[in-house]
Symmetry: C2
Subunit: 404 residues, 2 copies
């Protein structure tokens, strides 16, 4: 790190959000130096207590997705609470005027109303379906085709992913979309109204990766191939000490190195002759994956993980042991830094995976609602008495001390 | 669409890439209006023939990930080919000077050399591990913990995802990172050298979603819960006509609506009393997911999908039938537009999931290498004879007509 300004220095984003996608989008910007103010209903949104929880009951999910933000609570169903959002938007300076949300834009929170307060408004609305119907990662995923080709070959039903991959992609698209819109605004002065549907993210990614074109042209769905890598050579293997490793050969060099390391060079050459195949080709490695991996299997089952590691270490072969989260969390990686998370205590937390000058390290999430008075005072010039009056009327969350 | 300028109008990115992450990052920018020039080795990189293939043998994977780019081929191992990359960088105008790559920066392609050609260089290097070691989505995923908790509860080994979710996230982080760096450069004139490791993306996302904190604090890994939604109520159900649906109740309202639609309101109330539970709480819906879903199951197995659809249509319940890719590809969604993809023919392809003024619709990928002569002529002012001479020396790919 040098003393460069953070890349998003001066950018201010109001985030009215819940769950994964919008919060991750905002946090991606916060981790690059933007000021992100998450605005929640007084009392919390539906994600405030989402599992996993810390032993004391704090949501580790909420804490993880809101690192480095400020937290403000307002009554978002009351016009006075909605008006305060407009006030904050109007007061958010030249790098502000940006709203990221997955909440329905009721009343004064509709982008048309907000753009009256801030004509250069950049408004990004995340929604389930393009037509506004609700959807979440789990239902969108069911509709994408992936669960029907994920999992062991002998399973007949769907296998859901555990990683909410569409939410993650949606949040990152949102971050990129806001930055693209802000670039245009800096050049032309024009704001943007952007919509981003979770279902569209899934459809687009399935298309970009060739799954849709494949189905269109073949009229059928790709088969379920378990842990095999589709269209190449890759699979998991069990080792003598009961560990599992994932091994991948994406290129002819990877395959040659794998054959050499396992002593199978001559065997594979003979097999190529017998099958009239060329294992330097992706397609042939994939078509003959059964026999190739059957030949490789004993080499792994006869060796402990440490031996496998030694044999593959200086080769081009792509491989990794399978690990659990507890082991992953113990990685000695500078991405993980100890933070003191209110309600949780000391925790190793990741900063931005983007390593560049000026990017701040990991920062804790705020105490829920703790910045309400501070933000209203700093940005709108309200007095402590004003804030107390708003809190008494239930328009703003009560003053919260950070040690509560 | 209006006649607004595309959000990334004037941005020019040189992409030296292969496989998913870097190409998706570049394509995300191209779909927002940037000019993205993908530079490959003459003859193609390792992803040029990656499956799935069209009936004629064109890679649908390559075509899907390079839509809307120009394709240039140069000998990237020869200093003269490397020098041409520097020439293109130097000639790429005020919105240029941007390199996105996952290739090792050999010789004159190292960012230090490139920054001599363009002092305000923005260089984003995608790599496997933070220390530069190779890794791909499949090996990174093995190390994250997700495969050990994905899949049916009775499976003991790992279950790999089929969606290369880390590659997707990495590409989208790259797009956001480049835009953040370009924003800073527009304000301060300073370039950026950025690294982004695929393994860091996985570690960061696992952290952001609370998986790492949970494992740190509990010392154990989350259990495998099949298609159940962790920490809430959600699961797949079989219908009378052999279809599968995913059903999710994330909030008390969702659960109340699900209970009402299935005629189980009184049953669940009695069950809450017996179990001393409160199904308005996420945690109690999750703890008692076995009995709750066992009670729901007959309602689904006794009804055909169409009946399920009618019963849930006007409720808040989140649900979706499972579908295959062929069905998904047939969606009547304006995101999918017919393009004419060279080597493939007419194809429905997705544009950007970000819907905003000025964002172009879906565009085909280029013919591999077809823009070599055009780009060298337009950007460097080379004559046709210069380009032919470079092609004869094997420094540039041969002139390719777009009808080849």
């Amino acid at each position: 790190m040098t003393d460069s300004l953070p890349p998003l220095d001066g950018l201010t984003v109001l985030e009215i959000s819940s769950f994964v996608a919008a919060p991750l989008g905002g946090m991606t910007l916060a981790q690059l130096g933007a000021e992100v103010i998450r605005i929640d209903p007084v009392g919390g949104g539906p994600d405030l207590h989402r599992w996993p929880l810390s032993p004391s009951g704090t949501s580790l999910y909420w804490a993880g997705l809101n690192k480095g933000k400020r937290s403000v609570t307002l009554n978002l169903r009351d016009p006075d609470g909605q008006r305060l959002v407009g006030d904050l938007l109007a007061a958010s300076g030249p790098g502000g005027g940006i709203v990221l949300t997955n909440a329905p834009g009721r009343g004064l929170l509709h982008h048309a109303s907000l753009s009256e307060r801030r004509p250069d408004l950049i408004h990004l609305q995340i929604q389930g379906q393009r037509d506004g119907r609700a959807a979440v990662d789990y239902t969108v995923n069911a509709a994408t085709g992936f669960p029907l080709i994920t999992g062991p070959e002998d399973v007949t039903g769907p296998v859901n992913h555990v990683l909410p991959a569409w939410d993650v992609a949606c949040g990152l698209y949102a971050a990129a979309g806001l930055l693209a819109a802000e670039r245009r605004r800096a050049r032309t002065g024009a704001g943007s109204v952007i919509t981003l549907a979770l279902a569209d993210v899934a459809l687009a990614v399935a298309g970009h990766l060739g799954f849709l074109a494949d189905a269109q042209l073949s009229g059928t769905d790709r088969p379920r191939v378990g842990n095999h890598l589709y269209g190449g050579l890759g699979r998991d293997f069990l080792t003598a000490d009961g560990k599992r490793v994932m091994v991948v050969a994406l290129t002819p060099r990877h395959f040659a190195d794998l054959a050499a390391a396992t002593g199978l060079t001559a065997t594979f050459a003979e097999l190529e002759r017998l099958l009239r195949a060329d294992f330097a080709e992706d397609g042939d490695r994939y078509r003959h994956r059964g026999v190739i991996t059957a030949l490789l299997e004993p080499w792994f089952t006869e060796r402990k993980l440490a031996e496998v590691e030694r044999a593959l270490a200086d080769t081009s072969v792509l491989w990794s042991p399978y690990r659990g989260f507890a082991e992953l969390a113990g990685d000695d990686n500078p991405l993980l830094q100890e933070i003191s998370q209110p309600g949780v205590g000391p925790l190793l937390a990741p900063g931005s995976a983007l390593v560049m000058d000026g990017v701040p390290g990991a920062r804790p999430a705020p105490v829920f609602g703790a910045d309400t008075a501070g933000v209203l005072t700093d940005m709108l010039g309200l007095s402590a008495a004003d804030v107390r009056a708003l809190a008494e009327r239930g328009i703003a969350g009560g003053p919260v001390r950070s040690d509560e």
